[in-house]
C-alpha cells in the first residue's frame, strides 16, 4: 500500500525511527516480519490479510531494543498488546512510533497511548461465537470426558515453547519453567509437565492475555490453546468485568479485589 510505504519511508528518512517493524513476503511466499532500517528497503513492505503475526512481541526483544527509536505496524491485536504492555510499564516513553491502517485504509500514526485507548474502544473486535460454542460444548460434556479431551490434547505438547515465544505478553526474562530452585514446573514434556506448563501459563496470563490467539496459530501440534485463552478471558470479564488491552492504566483483575467479590464455593 503506497500510503503506508510512504509513511514508513518518511519516518526512516527523517530519523524519527531507526528501525520499522512491518511485514514482507518471504522467499517461499509466506508473509513474515520485516525489519526496515533504510527507506530504500521499504518497497518490500507487505500489507494485506496474510499479515497475521502479532508484531508487538518484538518490542521487548533485546536486539530490537538496541535501536533507540522503533516504529511498528500494529494491527488491532498488536495495538491491544502494546497498550497492555504500556499499562504494565514495559514500554519506555518515546521509544515507539505506532502506526496502524484503519478499515478505510487510512494510515494513522498515534501520538500517544491515550489515542490508542480510544481507537481500541471504537474498534471492538467481535466476539468469536464459534470459539464460545466450542467452549460451551466442552463444558456440557461430563468432567471425565473433558479430562480425556485435554489429556489427549496436552499429551501431544512437545514443549517447544513456540506459544510462549510468539506471545507479546510473555516477556519475563526468566520464565517460571526455567526456574529450578524450587522447580515449579516439571521440565519433561510428559503429560504432567505439560499440564503444569499450560495451567501455569494460563494463570499468569489471566487478564493479561489480549486473546490474539497467536499461540494457537503457531503450535506445531495443533493444540487448541485458543480455547484456554478465550475461556480464561471470558471468565475474567464475567467475574470481575476486567479485560486486558483496553486501558492505559493497569487494570489487572488479580492485582486488585473488591470486598464483595462474589463466589459461592468457599465454606
Amino acid at each position: 500500500m503506497q500510503e503506508l510505504n510512504n509513511k514508513i519511508a518518511e519516518l526512516l528518512t527523517n530519523n524519527l525511527v531507526s528501525i520499522f517493524i512491518s511485514y514482507k513476503k518471504g522467499l517461499n511466499g509466506k508473509i513474515k516480519p520485516a525489519f526496515f532500517t533504510k527507506p530504500n528497503e521499504v518497497y518490500e513492505n507487505y500489507f494485506g490479510d496474510e499479515a497475521q503475526q502479532n508484531l508487538a512481541v518484538y518490542v521487548h526483544k533485546p536486539e530490537v531494543k538496541k535501536y533507540s527509536k522503533v516504529g511498528i505496524l500494529a494491527n488491532i491485536f498488536a495495538l491491544k498488546a502494546l497498550l497492555q504492555l504500556y499499562a504494565e510499564n514495559q514500554i519506555k516513553d518515546n521509544y515507539l512510533t505506532i502506526v496502524t491502517v484503519n478499515q478505510d485504509n487510512k494510515v494513522i500514526v498515534f501520538a500517544d497511548f491515550n489515542e490508542i485507548e480510544s481507537y481500541i474502544a471504537q474498534h471492538q473486535i467481535e466476539k468469536n461465537t464459534n470459539k464460545q460454542k466450542e467452549i460451551n460444548e466442552l463444558l456440557s460434556l461430563s468432567r471425565e470426558k473433558r479430562w480425556e479431551f485435554w489429556v489427549e490434547q496436552l499429551s501431544s505438547c512437545i514443549k517447544c515453547y513456540a506459544c510462549r515465544a510468539i506471545c507479546p505478553m510473555c516477556y519475563c526474562s526468566k520464565c517460571t519453567v526455567e526456574l529450578n530452585q524450587p522447580q515449579w514446573i516439571s521440565v519433561p514434556a510428559h503429560s504432567l509437565g505439560n499440564f503444569e506448563w499450560h495451567i501455569m501459563r494460563m494463570m499468569h496470563l489471566a487478564c493479561r492475555c489480549i486473546n490474539c490467539q497467536e499461540c494457537s496459530r503457531v503450535c506445531p501440534m495443533n493444540i487448541p490453546l485458543h480455547l484456554l485463552t478465550t475461556k480464561i478471558n471470558s471468565d475474567m470479564e464475567e467475574e470481575f468485568g476486567q479485560i486486558a488491552g483496553m486501558k492505559t492504566t493497569l487494570d489487572f483483575a488479580l492485582n486488585t479485589f473488591k470486598v464483595d467479590d462474589y463466589e459461592n464455593f468457599i465454606r
Binding site: 517461499n28 513474515k32 526483544k61 512437545i158 510462549r164 510468539i166
Partner: protein, 342 residues
Amino acid sequence: MKILSGKIMNYKTLKIDNLDLFFNEIKKSGKNLLVPKKKGKTTYFSSFININDVEFNYIQTTISPKSALFPKVEELISFKKDDGTYVVTEPSIEKETIVFGLRPCDAVGLEYLSNFFLNEKSDFTVRLRKENTTLITLACKNFDENCFCTSVGLSPASIKGSDICLTDIGNGLFYAEIITDKGEKLIAEHSALFSNAEKINKESYVAQVPLKFDSDNLIKNIKNYYNSEKWTINSLPCLGCGACAFVCPTCTCFNIEDEANPVCGTRLRCWDSCAFGIFTLHASGHNPRPIQSNRWRHRVLHKFGYSVTNMDTLSCVGCGRCIRVCPAGMNIIEQILDLQEA
C-alpha cells in the same frame, strides 16, 4: 556432495489396495506400526489402528519420525527403594517398530541421528530402538517451495537409510526396493502380498525438486561466514523457541532431568534446542551465545559446517520442516542464499 545411494538387494511390487492387508498383518504380528496421521494442520506419526485414519496426502509430515529412535521424553534408568536397598532398572525396548511413510530425506536424517548417538560411545536406548526399527520410505511425488533435498545432495529417489523404499508407479502399484536385511525379513514375512519385479528407472515417477543453492560452494566458504553481519539482521524475526529443532529429523540436542523422591525416581532424556536462551547459560551466569543471532548462526553453521568437520556429512537433509513450522517465517534457504550472495 554426491548423490548418496545404497545397495539394493531386491525389487518387488505391492498393490496399493493391499496396503490395508499389509498393515493389518503387521499389526496382528504384534509389531508397532507407525503411520502418518493428520490432526488439523499437523501431520504426525502415530500407531496404526485403521487404514481410514492413515494420511497419504502430505508433502512432508509436520513432525519428523525421529521419535521412533529419539522420543521427546524417554526413560534412561529408574530406581525404587525396596526393603531398604535401591533397585535400579534399565528400560527394555523389545517391541519391533515399523515406520511407514517417512520420506527419503527422513531416512537419511534418521541415519545421521543414529550415527550421532552411536558414534563414539554407543547410546544404549538409541541402539536398541535402531535395532528394532524398520523404515519403509515413501518416495515423494510432490514437493513444495520449502523442500531442498537436491541442494544437500539427496533426491526424492534416494534410498540411503531406508530398509524398504516404495514408489507409486501408477496403475495402483507400489514399486518396492528392498535395501537391507531388515527389509528382506519384513517382506519375507508378508511375501504373499509382494510380487517379483525388474529394476526400473524411478526418476520419472518421483518429484523433480529444483536446486536452491550450491552446497559444495557453501561448505567451502562456510568458515568465512562466521563473522558476517547478516546474521544479526536476518535473525531479527527469530523468537528463540524450540519449534525448528523439535521438528527437525537431525537435531539431537537433549537435556537430562532427574525426577525423583527418596523412594523412587526416573532419569529422563528430553529434547532440547540450541535456540533457547538458557541452552548455553553457564552456572556462573555467563552465556557464550547471549543473543538470538548467535543462536541462529549456531544452528545454521552446525548443519552445514560443524557436522561436516566432525562427522564428514551435512546434518541438514533439506526436508524443509523448520521453515514450515517457524512461527516467525525464518527460512534457512533464504539465509544461505543471502550468505552466498556476498
